[in-house]
Symmetry: C2
Subunit: 120 residues, 2 copies
Amino acid sequence: MSEGIVLFAHGSRDAQWARPFEQLAATLSHKVKGPVRVAYLEAMRPSLEEAIAALASDVDRIRVVPVFLGHGGHVKEDLPQLLEAARERHPEVHFSLDAPIGEQPAVIEAIAVAIAGDCS
Amino acid sequence: MSEGIVLFAHGSRDAQWARPFEQLAATLSHKVKGPVRVAYLEAMRPSLEEAIAALASDVDRIRVVPVFLGHGGHVKEDLPQLLEAARERHPEVHFSLDAPIGEQPAVIEAIAVAIAGDCS
């Protein structure tokens, strides 16, 4: 059984916006065994559907990680609908959905350390 | 000289959305000497203007930290305009503006570690 990870982010018309998410995918790729892809809700590609379609033939499981700090409508409403459509389209793949990364205490702590470190 | 920090976030109509930012402010408050406030671009309060007005009489310097992962229009266009208005309104305060937290390599690393840790 192999697992792919899709990092799901908001997207923007500004190309620079994607950089942290691309860096996150590159960093994460060195920490996990399976493939890691970024997907965007709007304005950028691939979409979640496209990223999942590209992975679906290579893995048995796909884990979707919302790379959002806040837990609002995009994570609560848009993403579950997109994931439900993906489940119907790829019944042979097991999908799981993480909490948004802003709900991880370790992430909040790291952001606080990064901000406080700049005070010195 | 004392410094206040304003954590500038997007905002949402969903009250739960603010939780990571409030937790970040609480965590950061234990790591720095001065006051820490959260401010929102839209849909939540206080606004940046309101947060700065509340701090301006207590500190000499205000550091604005964009709590955004991506570096797009909100950080590049909306925030500089809001900050310019604050500078005109509070000429006695020294303002500084950080890069968005998604540009901090330590933050990206922490997010990657948090995601990879869930694989075990």
